[in-house]
Symmetry: C2
Subunit: 455 residues, 2 copies
């Protein structure tokens, strides 16, 4: 095909192979963490009926609609929002999972734990951390009728373990509980707790004085009530000591008590996971006001990348899905893999040690010896060593530079009639006699390594 | 979300977790095979400008066009085929890869080996083996200006090794060469070798007599020429003995000689790979008449599933991509993963030994002991054993049935004050004292196994 040099599509990021290695390593790590905890793999189709996608009433989501090129002229009178056959690309993994659960309810065992790692699409205006095509990694536990609270603790802990294994800047998992804040706001006497939540949601973006004014103007609070609500939102502790701080505020409400007890359980369930690179906070400003959570809520910030907002969010739904007769409560959390990794790639803070899987390039003395070099490569591969053979019998200096440009650490020189096999570490220049049946590189050279410049 | 019970979308297959385990195992195996040979991972965006998608002139492809829901009313006068901003979902991985190579030519090292495993979409009428959304796994080697022939051998061998490792019915990789058949048809005196190829392409679907008539009527051959062309198409050998059979037909042409030499090299390059479950054939009927191949061509049949047609096809392009100044020749092969696996799933010929990753369910004596059971689970997971804790403190019989329904092979009973840890293989009933710090299941129980009923 002859084409003019193509240009990137804004919002549809693509990676060079070195970065793709890192992305695959991250996806492998997530999958291993999730499976270790018994979460089963699910993948759903990319397309859903539009009526399904819009069911949550999230009109702010810019859905991509699908139309077949040869399906005939579009009907000028048809309204895509009411045409039940219109398909759109999913914009998250929660809506398709809810549909999957209903569709397969008779074939699944509940409580059902699943992970799902897939691309999603949103036609939003692209910016750093906001893409039109991106990968999400979700875990959810869903039950029929009743989902025990301990699954909130489980989901927090599983994602915390998964996050703490990733090669990224320090992450902070911030946890709160909707019952806690709703109960508190009600206890303070707020006429519309949801309105308070919507204002508190802006706390990272506007100064405290403005929040106070908005609480009075938009949520109908007195100045004193506003102060008390703000005081709650300013509590954040790495352990369950938040409970004592809440108690000091002197508000009493049964829903508040329930929420405090739940949050204590989740925070204590994550104890022991804190490292220099990962921490857990009870953070009482987290509200996720626009979503339909009813208990535990999660957000996650990446140190140095706070402007991205939360890269990993979720919470408890009293009804993830319902078919009218049966309700399926759930708790889950969703990691924005692309949102987390792309800024690290573009700022050169994360890459791989080489652009090819090959640990060894087998040199080619002359074109007639290709079978010999192929046989050496086959021996190395049989021991799990990724190997390629030089594409052309250029002089050895050129073949070594071929390896250098790709970051391949070793070049193998096949034995001849009167000289043995030798392998050269082209980084150090060290060359030694070796047996292709038994030689292997140091473990750290076997596969491309994740490299974190400046980290 | 409350929804009526949803129904499947025709052509958009979805798997239950057990089948998804098998699919993941197949994808992992392919990736490992490709990386072992130095192929680097590439993933391209799902969407391409429509003009790019239609560039090969493949109007038979039913492209899915994208439109943003809130992008305003569609312009009734706009023609999607000429509007350069119209996006469509890719229908294969070759077109996007050609675009990726041109876009990143300055940042890639050539010859560039890549594998790409992704979903593609085609709005075709669904039937067994034909889906609207499906996974393909491609490998290609692409060079700048000139690509040495030995890469044809390499690509054949890499895919042959990858296929022979898969848990599927016996596969036959059929290889031919366009130069061979074009040269032969020319040597026979065919006025239009391409027309002969289009007829020969139908050889699996219509009887030989009809092929002969069509060669006369549609390709302008004499009856004797038609017989000689058919004779070529009937040659298939598991080794390079096809060359002698071709020579016996007494046709002479320089392009034919070149094609025979190339096909001998590819077939000999794959020698040693034949097993009971995998074979390689020089098959001189393979033409892939509708594609733009210029040398080696590949197809693959699965025994017992011949009606699916070829599940893995490809070949050599003199120009995979070109920007007008520089041409990028390539050779590649593409496996239809979904097309291969779905019929096996739906006919119950392939599944996994369980529907969850968990090898162990830790039982729960009572709800107060959850922390104890969690601690046992954490110890097992630290040794890489996928483990879940019983969701509720039901009586042990119920907890064992919970494990049984999911196929979890072991149930762990945590130690109490006056009794030790014990683990039960619920398939045999055998129960033994065990230490959670050191116990591990037999290797075959560690992860879900691929199961092939009747195989």
């Amino acid at each position: 095909m002859t084409v003019a040099k193509p240009t990137p599509l804004s919002g549809f990021p693509e990676l060079l192979p070195a970065e793709r290695f890192v992305e695959l390593r991250v996806l492998d790590s997530l999958r291993a963490s999730f499976e270790l905890h018994g979460f089963a793999p699910v993948e759903t189709r990319a397309a859903e009926p539009l009526e399904q996608l819009l069911r949550k009433g999230e009109i702010d989501k810019e859905v991509y609609l699908l139309r077949r090129l040869q399906a005939g002229q579009p009907d000028a009178d048809s309204d895509p929002e009411t045409d039940s056959s219109t398909l759109g690309l999913h914009f998250d993994l929660t809506v398709p999972f809810a549909r999957y659960v209903l569709e397969n309810a008779g074939r699944l065992e509940f409580p059902f734990r699943r992970y799902q790692i897939q691309k999603v699409w949103r036609g939003e205006r692209p910016q750093e951390g906001r893409y039109r095509e991106f990968i999400q990694a979700d875990i959810d536990v869903v039950a029929r009728d009743v989902l025990s609270f301990h699954h909130d603790v489980e989901v927090a802990r599983v994602m915390a373990e998964a996050l703490s294994a990733l090669p990224v800047p320090p992450l902070t998992l911030q946890i709160n509980n909707r019952k806690l804040i709703e109960g508190y706001f009600r206890g303070v006497g707020a006429p519309d707790p949801a309105a308070v939540m919507r204002v508190i949601d802006k706390i990272d973006k506007v100064p405290a004085e403005v929040i106070l004014t908005m609480l009075v103007d938009e949520a109908g609070l007195s100045a004193e009530q506003a102060e008390r609500c703000l005081a709650l939102a300013q509590i954040r502790t790495p352990d369950s000591s938040f409970a004592a701080r809440v108690a000091e505020l002197g508000v009493s409400d049964p829903l508040l008590e329930e929420g405090v007890a739940e949050l204590v359980a989740v925070i204590e369930g994550c104890s022991g996971l804190a490292t220099e690179r990962f921490s857990v906070l009870a953070d009482l400003r987290i509200a996720r006001g626009l979503d339909y959570y009813t208990g535990t809520v999660f957000e996650t910030r990446m140190t140095g990348f706070e402007s991205l907002g939360s890269i990993c969010s979720g919470g408890r739904y009293d009804s993830l899905a319902s078919d009218g007769r049966t309700s399926y409560p759930g708790v889950g959390i969703s990691l924005g893999v692309t949102r987390m990794l792309l800024p690290l790639f573009s700022r050169k803070k994360l890459t791989a040690s080489r652009s090819v899987p090959s640990a060894v390039l087998v040199a080619l003395p002359d074109e007639e010896s290709r079978a010999v070099s192929d046989a050496v490569a086959a021996q190395l591969r049989a021991n799990g060593i990724a190997t390629e053979v030089a594409p052309a019998a250029q002089r050895y200096g050129k073949q070594i530079r071929y390896a250098e440009r790709r970051g391949i650490p070793f070049v193998w020189f096949p034995a001849g009639a009167d000289y043995p096999h030798e392998v050269k570490d082209i980084r150090t220049g060290e060359q030694q006699v070796a047996d292709p049946a038994t030689w292997s590189p140091p473990a750290e050279d076997l596969r491309p390594q994740v490299v974190r410049p400046e980290a």
